[in-house]
């Protein structure tokens, strides 16, 4: 009997614990009616973003008494791991920063379809229609765009001059870029630290560049989960670099591994970097804003650059208890002029045309330069943001991994294409 009694005690304790746990969740529901709303917001990015978000939250909380916002900053490395476990438990934060994973989360029913809030708590009046559509999945508004970004070729003017090589023309092609990179490397100069200077990085470091090249050829990268390109397209794209790789023109991969998380360009060891335009903020302090020239991406064979500005989005967990407030907060963070003032171009270019028109860049933030770049390449932005497949993140990771293998000379372009294809299950 004593045994069962012990069990009874343990069970009772368990029930009590459960009740306690129950209490805490009941409590939030109860106070909800009392006017207190708790929202959790999460994002990735550097330290400075934490402060920017906190400042923005303060404004929102002041204007919405009873709303309490908890910010959960994260680094990109662990961001999606956390989201996937939360997603499995259906306990996602109320508001999240999103990238190409939007499709996957939307398809799994983890996100709130904000369509019915558009025109209510969300105002897209001054947001470009293509940007709004870019944040939709299957025609439903799962994403709320807060910024757009594109690619750019960063050039270190000082190093190019030192190498005695001419600047690239704006309408340069992929081949011209690679030849130019080779020229600078061949010049054999060293930087102020005595390190050898290379012309630039290889172009395998982001699938985005491959997609850009495809779009220039008139190929739509993805139609849903079906690729519009073939294995041969991957081989052809990688073949652009063959000569440079054979000659050691590109920034060496073992050096890239060592300087990570920095890169050759920010180390002043590489004269150019073809990457996201938003990297300006990262590069300027290391290279010096006065040394940086931003050029559009290389032109394709047709002479078209066919650039696009892809939106970054917020999304709301389907499990949110406060869809009304969450959508309102998303709209506030995405479009409010005061928030734009706080963030500058840190999250990309403001999506709301009116907010952007009223935005006055501060000296030394790099905002003026980034905005000027975007204005200057507006004429080349003729393409619509390509769709991203559900497994975008895995495809990207596999691409980067294979590119590293190829740079170390372990696999050929053909093996790269074949392995990527197999891994993608195509």
């Amino acid at each position: 009997m004593r045994y069962t009694r012990t069990i009874g005690v343990v069970a009772a304790a368990g029930v009590a614990l459960g009740a306690l746990a129950g209490c805490s969740s009941d409590e939030s529901a109860a106070t909800d009616e009392g006017g207190s709303v708790e929202l959790t917001v999460t994002w990735w990015g550097n330290e400075s973003r934490i402060e920017k978000y906190e400042k923005s939250f303060e404004i929102f909380e002041e204007e919405h008494p009873g709303v309490e916002i908890t910010g959960v900053p994260s680094d990109y490395g662990s961001y999606w791991t956390s989201r996937s476990t939360e997603g499995a438990a259906r306990e996602l934060p109320d508001l999240m920063q999103f990238d190409g994973n939007l499709t996957k989360y939307a398809h799994n029913g983890l996100l709130l379809d904000a369509s019915e809030y558009v025109g209510d708590t969300i105002d897209f009046t001054n947001v470009d229609e293509n940007i709004v559509k870019g944040a939709q999945v299957d025609g439903k508004q799962f994403g709320i765009p807060f910024g757009v970004g594109g690619m750019s070729l960063f050039v270190n003017k000082a190093l190019v001059e030192k190498a005695g090589v001419e600047m690239l023309d704006v309408d340069y092609t992929w081949d011209e870029l690679n030849a130019w990179i080779g020229e600078i490397t061949d010049a054999g100069i060293t930087n102020d630290d005595g390190q050898p200077v290379y012309g630039g990085n290889d172009h395998g470091a982001a699938t985005q560049l491959f997609y850009q090249w495809l779009v220039q050829k008139g190929i739509e990268p993805w139609d849903g989960e079906t690729p519009g390109f073939s294995q041969q397209d991957i081989v052809d794209y990688l073949a652009l670099e063959d000569e440079g790789l054979a000659n050691g023109a590109f920034y060496p991969v073992d050096r890239t591994t060592q300087v990570a998380p920095l890169d050759g360009f920010s180390m002043n060891e590489s004269a150019s970097s073809l990457t996201y335009a938003s990297f300006y903020g990262r590069y300027a302090p290391e290279v010096g804003g006065e040394n940086i020239v931003m050029l559009p991406v290389p032109s394709g064979e047709s002479g078209e650059k066919a650039m696009w500005f892809g939106p970054s989005n917020y999304a709301i967990g389907a499990n949110t208890e406060h869809p009304e407030e969450a959508t309102e907060l998303a709209d506030f963070l995405a479009r409010d002029a005061r928030v734009a003032e706080i963030f500058g171009t840190d999250r990309g270019i403001m999506v709301d045309t009116e907010t952007r028109a009223g935005f006055e860049p501060q000296e030394g933030t790099g905002d003026a330069e980034v905005l000027a770049y975007v204005d200057s390449v507006e004429q080349y932005a003729t393409a619509v943001t390509p769709q991203t497949p559900e497994n975008f993140a895995s495809y990207e990771a596999e691409w980067l991994r294979l590119n590293e293998e190829r740079m170390y000379g372990n696999i050929t372009a053909e093996e790269f294409a074949e392995q990527w294809w197999t891994e993608a299950g195509l």
């Binding site: 791991t81 996937s84 590293e404």
Partner: protein, 326 residues
């Protein structure tokens, strides 16, 4: 009475149920103390048992089930039979990670044991400040698994880092190991060997247990240091050696933390530090292929099980326990 209660548990343990059913006179009286003993035992065991079932056994069984399914965390697992296991054979990265891990186990474990035994022997005397040295040599094991050390380690092995300069001093130009796939694994082996504290302490205890008269007798016979080491120290230390070998090997199979930090979770450069557990993590939590990751985990468990079994079998040949008649 005391005689009965002491004896009963022995017989009962063998056939508790049948004995309980048997209508033997006095059974009731005898049963109570026995049952009560067990109850108390189980009651005290309960916290651990709940933890074991809820946190270890349960998840393990769940992962065994998941290894036969396709599961992406978001939608319910879908039964696919042995597909995950079949996939392993055609997976180049599985093979890559197996090679990396085996290299680490086969080279790293012996190196670590040799280092820890050597240090243990150096410390096995009665010099002053003994306990200080013992603690000092144990420190790397305490801090070794930390993020900070992994970062320091990385910094030591980059171009122009400490190791590169030491190499240059001796006229060797091996550059930074961090960026060279041929060297990265040795970086990890050195990191493991540096954390020799735990096996060292166990070795030290073993060394203290070797009867001094054995060495005295050997001295009388004119045996040299090496002879004494091979003929006395190693054989008498063999149970301890066996224990350390087994433990360190199992640990080496499961290395994760340092690998994750040094390569930032990528297993790079060029997959040269793609340890098995890191690959498992990537599959499970980055690619969200929980089913495949579970299959990977079970393969690791089975491999460690087999290797451990082989060790135990072979131990009869080389491990000598004190008081053994042989």
């Amino acid at each position: 009475m005391s005689v009965i209660t002491e004896k009963v548990p022995v017989t009962r343990a063998a056939s508790g149920e049948t004995a309980a059913r048997r209508p033997v006179a006095g059974a009731r009286i005898r049963r109570r103390p026995h049952g009560q003993n067990n109850r108390a035992g189980y009651t005290f065991l309960l916290p651990w048992l709940i933890g074991f079932i809820g946190l270890t056994a349960g998840p393990m069984i769940a992962s065994l089930y998941l290894s036969f399914t396709e599961y992406n965390l978001f939608s319910p697992p879908e039964w696919i039979g042995l597909d995950n296991y079949a996939r392993l054979f055609a997976d180049p990265r599985f093979q890559q990670s197996a090679v990396v891990t085996l290299t680490y186990v086969l080279i790293g474990t012996p190196v670590k044991l040799v280092v820890s035994l050597a240090v243990a022997m150096l410390l096995n005397n009665n010099r002053r400040g003994q306990s200080f040295y013992r603690s000092a040599f144990y420190v790397p094991s305490l801090v070794g698994a930390s993020v900070a050390i992994a970062i320091v380690w990385r910094a030591m092995f980059i171009d122009d880092g400490v190791v590169d300069r030491i190499g240059a001093f001796f006229g060797i130009d091996w550059g930074g190991w961090v960026g060279d796939p041929n060297y990265t694994i040795y970086m990890f082996i050195l990191l493991a060997a540096w954390q020799f504290g735990a096996p060292m302490v166990i070795f030290l205890a073993g060394l203290k247990d070797i009867p001094a008269e054995l060495y005295e007798a050997a001295d009388m016979d004119g045996a040299g240091r090496w002879r004494k080491f091979v003929s006395i120290t190693l054989p008498t230390l063999s149970p301890v050696l066996f224990f350390n070998l087994l433990l360190e090997m199992i640990n080496a199979f499961q290395v994760f933390g340092s690998a994750f930090i040094i390569s930032n979770g990528s297993g790079g450069p060029a997959g040269s530090t793609l340890f098995y557990t890191l690959y498992l993590y990537q599959r499970g939590f980055e690619d969200q292929q929980l089913g495949y990751a579970s299959a990977l985990a079970w393969v690791l468990l089975v491999v460690i099980g087999i290797v451990t079994a082989i060790f135990f079998r072979s131990s009869k040949m080389w491990v000598h326990y004190g008081g053994d008649a042989r």
